[in-house]
Structures are given as C-alpha cells and as structure tokens.
C-alpha cells in the first residue's frame, strides 16, 4: 500500500471538478452556488420528508404467517404474495393514508412474516381488527372414516378434511335472501380455477356433506346432490341481516388465503410522534450550532470554512433523504447526527495535520495541500471502519436498526466526499502566499500542546 497516495477514484472525481472550474476561488463560488441551489430545493421542492411511524404516529403490526397449513407442493411465495395483496386491499378499504404491507422470510426463525404499517392509526385494537378479523374461508369434505349416511347434521371439525378450495378462489360474494324463508344467505361466485375445483369436489362427494368453514369453524354443511359446474355456492346459516352484510363485505375485500397470528405490535401516539419530531429538529440544530461554534473558536478561519463545508454536507444529506426517500426515524436522525461527527472528524484530522506543517515551517498553500494528502489514510481507514459497521447493521436489520444503519452509511460516504472535495476547495480558495500576522493568527488554532 502506497502511503499518502490518493484513491484513484477520488483523484478522478477531483480532476473532473478541476476541469469545470480552473481557479480555486471560482470553484469555491461554484460550490456555494450548488449548495444554495440544493438549499432552495430543500425548502421549496415539493417533496416532503418521509417520517417513520415513531415520528409520525401510527401502528406497526407484525404477523407470523402460518404456511404449514398449505398442502405440500404449493408455491409458498405465491400464496404469501396473495395474502399480502388481500391485506393491502383490506387496509385500503379503511382509508388509511399510505399504508405499507410487506412480507419477509426470516431465515433465523424459518417463518414468513407479514408486516403492516399504518400511519395515523393509533388505536391498536382497531388496527388489529382491520387485519386480523378478515375471514378465512375454506371448503372441507368428510374424512373417509366417517360414514356417508348423510343423516348426520353438522359434525365435529375433526370429521372433515381440507380441500384445495379456499377463499383465494373467490371471485365475489353477494347478499341474497332465501325466497321461501326470506332469511339472508350469502352467495359465493368462484373464479375459473375455483369453479373447476368446486366441480371436482362436488362430483367426488355426491350424497355427502361438503362443509364451508369460516375462520376454522363450520358454518354450513349442505349435502351435495349433484356435480355443480357453474362455480356458484350458497352459504345458508343463521345470520342476521347485519351479520350477513358485514360478512359479504369482508369476503369481498378478500378472504385471507393463509391464517396469520399477531407476533408483535408497535403503536406510537400522535402527540408523542410530533413532540419527537420537534425535539429531533431542535436537537439537530442546536447540536449543529454547538459543533460549528467549537470549530470556529478552535480552528478560526479553517474552522469557519469547515463549517461552510458542514452546511453543504448537511444540505446534501437532507436532499438525499428527500430524494431516495429515506424514511426518517428517531434512530435514523441519531445516525445522521453521528455521521456529522464523522464529517467533523475528517476536517479536524486535516486541520491538525495542516497546523503541524505550518509549525514545521511550510507556507500556507503547501501546508493546505500537505494537510489534506497526509490526513487521507487516517480519514479513509476510519470511514471504511464506519462503513463496515453500517453495512453489517443494515444486513442484520430490523426496521429500527436499518433506519440507523442507512443514514449512518450515507453519512459516512457523503462525509468522505465532502471532506476531500468541498473543504479542500474552500481551503484552497483562502490559502495564499501572505505571511502577515493576521493570516497566521487565522490559520493557527487553540492552544499549542508542547
């Protein structure tokens, strides 16, 4: 490894930069303009920051998907995706603003999960109802061991065995009334595939009872008289009209093709979220000002230039947050603030090196160049360490950890670029051949440790 050599890519970037503007001061003005443009976009650009649930208020529900009930040989991913679509439709029915429904497979626990995030919904019971109470509809046939006398009424659950026909093959459900008794019943229409299955099932079970199960309980078990090919079935139960109507609505929004069990919830009240945002913004601004104050008091003119670079750094980061977009959480903001620390460190390293060079008798211009080139290996290595940590964190991630890891990673990458390009442009712009006492004062710093 060659010491003090620049990474080729950084040099390339820098050459490109140099080609755009020849003189350092012109470059510095370019940078300032660019930052102003970014700042304008940040304030006026129509996009908003995307806030995580902990900041916006809302609920996140994690379900375990019971894939064990699937018959062997079924495409699990397809079923899980079908489940996600159904839950999405269901959640949309309730008019939640920008809900997200995702599924993931956990290798560690070997199970599928469904994660539902509902911004603005802070009533956990209501949220659970919205998803959990979706009916699971399936058709079951008598086990071979049960006598097919047809005389028994609704039998034990254990007497029936599952068929492939479930709510996922449902095209629509309608509210109907029995013409003689005038009692409400529910008409089911299957899609093409479901009609075929239903025909097969009815054909194979003529004279037997085919039971319709809702949420694992039998609600109706009519005796099959003949093969039904039209893909239509009727559930006659002892419903009230209201019950039947809700059931139809729920069936139409889609029956869950797979059962789910709640394994985790996280609900943040709206007031807590808002106060967290206010607190986060306040903390960021005050933290930033404290750092800038320290930099200027200790490193004087270079400190001021580094502060300008920090403003550019922050503007760039915030723009990335909007453009990508990064979902901001408390942990994510913490990651950003720590990355600011990393960015400051890169400047501190450079300035300390510069100071040494000046002490060793170098002129300002040479000292600036030497400061940057000699601090490079330290800056590179410490940033790589930070990037390694952030990548591992992201890879391990639950959503909280990911939020932190991502902003920290972005911060480390942007800081590497900003410390090498932006601060350097500013420093070159102010370095000159002057040996006046004022310049010396401005470039020296703090107290000299002897």
């Amino acid at each position: 490894m060659q010491d003090y050599s620049y990474n080729d890519s950084i040099r390339l970037l820098f050459n490109l930069f140099e080609a755009i503007a020849m003189k350092y001061r012109v470059q510095a003005i370019w940078v300032i303009f660019a930052v102003l443009a970014i700042g304008y976009f940040l304030v006026k650009g129509g996009k908003d920051f995307v806030l995580g649930l902990d900041l916006a208020g809302g609920s996140a529900l994690t379900y375990k998907i019971e894939t064990s009930s699937l018959p062997a040989g079924t495409d699990v991913t397809e079923s899980v995706n079908a489940l996600r679509d159904v839950v999405e439709r269901r959640v949309n029915l309730f008019g939640v603003r920008e809900p997200t429904v995702t599924t993931s497979y956990s290798r560690l626990s070997k199970e599928w999960r469904l994660i539902v995030e509902l911004p603005g919904v802070t009533d956990v019971v209501a949220a659970e109802k919205m998803i959990g109470e979706t009916p699971v509809l399936d058709f079951r046939v008598p086990k071979n061991t049960v006598s097919d006398s047809g005389t028994s009424t609704l039998s034990l659950i254990t007497d029936y065995t599952l068929t492939p026909l479930t709510g996922r093959y449902l095209d629509k459900a309608t509210l109907e009334f029995n013409q003689t008794t005038n009692r409400p019943s529910i008409g089911l229409t299957f899609n093409a595939e479901g009609s075929k299955l239903f025909a097969q099932i009815t054909k194979a079970n003529i004279g037997k009872q085919v039971a319709i199960f809702l949420d694992g309980a039998p609600i109706s078990a009519p005796t099959v008289n003949e093969e039904i090919t039209g893909g239509k079935a009727v559930i006659t139960g002892t419903f009230t009209i209201d019950e039947a109507r809700t059931l139809v609505g729920r069936l139409n929004s889609g029956a869950l093709p797979l059962p789910v069990t709640l394994s985790g919830t996280n609900v943040v009240g709206p007031t807590l979220g808002t106060s967290a945002v206010d607190a986060g913004i306040k903390a960021s601004i005050i933290g930033f000002l404290l750092v800038v104050l320290f930099m200027i008091v200790w490193y004087r003119l270079p400190g001021f230039m580094a502060s300008l670079a920090l403003v550019a750094y922050s503007a760039f980061m915030l723009t990335l947050f909007k453009l990508i977009p990064v979902t901001l959480t408390s942990a994510g903001i913490a990651g950003f603030i720590i990355s600011v620390g990393l960015a400051v460190d890169a400047n501190v390293l450079t300035f300390e090196r510069m100071k040494e060079e000046i002490r060793n008798g170098k002129g300002l211009i040479d000292a600036v160049e030497a400061g940057f080139s000699r601090a490079w290996t330290s800056i590179r290595d410490s940033h790589i360490a930070a990037i390694i940590v952030s990548i591992i964190l992201f890879w391990m991630g639950t959503s909280v950890v990911k939020g932190f890891a991502f902003t920290f990673f972005l911060g480390a990458v942007v800081s590497l670029i900003s410390a090498q390009l932006i601060t350097r442009v500013f420093m070159r712009a102010i370095a000159n051949k002057s040996t006046s006492r004022l310049m010396k004062f401005l470039f020296s710093s703090g107290f000299n440790l002897k």
């Binding site: 902990d54 994690t62 199970e111 408390s330 913490a334 720590i338």
Partner: protein, 289 residues
C-alpha cells in the same frame, strides 16, 4: 511522553473500570428488554391529575411499573397487550378519576424476541471479526517491529473495554430508571465500536507512518505519535459529545438512554485510544524483546 511513562496508572484505571462494570452487571444483572424476551411495554400519559401508583399492585399481575416523567408511567410485562391493558386501565384510571392516554404500545412475540437476540449476538460477533480483519489487512505492510495482527488484537481488547464500561453504567440506569437492554442499546454498542475503532486506527496509522519516517525506539515513536494525534482525538471527541449533549437535552425521549450510552462510549473510547491502546502496544513489544 507522559502517557507512556505513566502507562501503569492509565491502564490500571481502565482495568478498575472494567472490573467495577463487571461487578455491577453481576450484582444487578443485565435486564433484557421485551425486544429480546418477548412481552409488552406500555407508556401512558395522564391528561389531568396524576395518581400515585403503587408498584406492588401491578407486581401481582407480573407488571413492572416505572415513573418516567411528571405525568407519565411505563409498564413492562412479559405478557401480551391484550392481557395487561385491562389491568392497567382499571387500576390506572381508578374509576374514571384519572383519565390517561396510551402514548406508546409495543409488544413482541416470543419467537420474534428470540430471533432478535440471535441477530444481536451475530451482529456483534460479525462486526468485531470484520474490524479485526480490516485492521490486520490495513496494517499488513507494517510488520516491524510489531506484527500487524497485534494491532488488531489490541484494538479488539480495548474495544471490549469500550463496550463493557458503558454497559456497566447502563446497568445502573436500568436498575434505577427501568432502562432496558433493547435494540437501541445494541445499536449504541455497535456504533461505539464503529467510532472508537476509527479513533484507534488514527493513532495506529500515525505510528505506522512514524515507523517509516522517524528513527528512535518503538516506545519513543509511539509516544511521538500519541502527542501528534492527542489534540485531534480530544477535539473529535468533544465535537461528537457536543452533538450528543444537544441530542440528549433537546432530543426525543425515545433516544435519551441511547444518546447517554453513546456519550459514555465516546468518552471511554477516546480515553482507551489515547491512554490504553498504544501503551499496551509498547508493553507487548517490550515483553517480546
């Protein structure tokens, strides 16, 4: 350099801190949060008057009670939200005399918790191994007089110190205020590792450079390198701590313990970079020769 001269004192101080932290962990135990064990955490805020809740009443139902603010309480339990929310509502509300709101509810199932524990442990191990290999790789050119892997081992040992001491402090927080070892705490530890490793790399990097450029004994070169990086280490630490203080004082309540842990880790990490890591390097080198 005074640091190398009085290294026995500085290293001794660190050892004492580690032992004290270990003792604290032993006495109070590390309280794993519901993130890892499964269970519920419920925060409530009283709207008007605040009753004095007795922790004994809740202890009967396996609910631990913490007063977290003037008008806020936190309930922690291994049970689910459905099981404990009626209890909290009936006792906490006292027949409608004390209206309150649930401000935050979080429940974690047992499987999810067990998985998080596994993940956290794997993350810690992978981070440590990755950093160790990175240092060994990065310093591979400098194998004289100290082989590059020794830099890695020493960085590892001091890193351990850097996370044990904040954990010791956290144990006190958790004993007094109910702070739990949760996901955020693990993030804090991993971040401390990330930041303090860069601290150590900067000092080692200087030693690496001086070994090539300067003449003198290994001890002298280490001393010189420390002197050159001293101001930088302190200044960087000061800036990060300043930002963290702002986050602690003005930031959201959810990240308070996280920030405090980071702050302690930052200070301890800077201390060990300057006063422990390099002196250890000289001790190891002198033992060998």
């Amino acid at each position: 350099m005074f640091i190398i001269k009085y290294k026995a004192f500085f290293i001794g101080l660190s050892i004492a801190l580690v032992i004290a932290s270990g003792a604290l962990m032993n006495v109070y135990g590390i309280k794993r949060g519901v993130d890892f064990t499964g269970g519920s955490v419920i925060d409530i805020t009283y709207e008007k008057s605040v009753p004095t809740l007795s922790s004994d009443t809740f202890a009967k139902s396996d609910i631990t009670l913490y007063k977290t603010g003037d008008n806020t309480y936190r309930f922690v339990s291994g049970k689910t939200y459905e099981e404990i929310s009626p209890i909290i509502s009936s006792i906490g509300n006292d027949g409608g005399n004390y209206p309150f709101q649930f401000t935050q509810v979080s429940t974690v199932g047992a499987t999810l918790g067990a998985e998080m524990t596994k993940k956290a442990i794997i993350a810690l191990v992978v981070v440590v191994l990755a950093i160790l290999s990175f240092i060994a790789f990065s310093f591979r050119a400098v194998s004289h007089p100290v082989p590059s892997w020794k830099y890695g081992i020493i960085a590892m040992v001091t890193l351990l110190h850097d996370i044990i001491v904040p954990t010791g402090v956290y144990v006190i927080l958790s004993h007094k205020y109910g702070a739990e070892v949760d996901t955020l705490f693990v993030i804090a530890l991993l971040t401390i590792i990330g930041i303090s490793i860069s601290d150590k790399i900067v000092v080692f990097d200087r030693i690496r450079e001086n070994l090539k450029l300067s003449k003198g004994s290994f001890d002298e070169i280490v001393g010189k390198s420390l002197k050159q990086t001293f101001t930088r280490s302190i200044n960087t630490s000061v800036t990060v701590v300043l930002a963290l203080v702002a986050l602690y004082v003005f930031g959201p309540a959810t990240t308070k313990y996280f920030t405090l842990t980071l702050m302690i880790g930052m200070v301890v990490g800077t201390y060990s970079s300057i006063f422990v890591a390099s002196p250890l390097l000289t001790i190891w080198n002198s033992k060998k020769s």
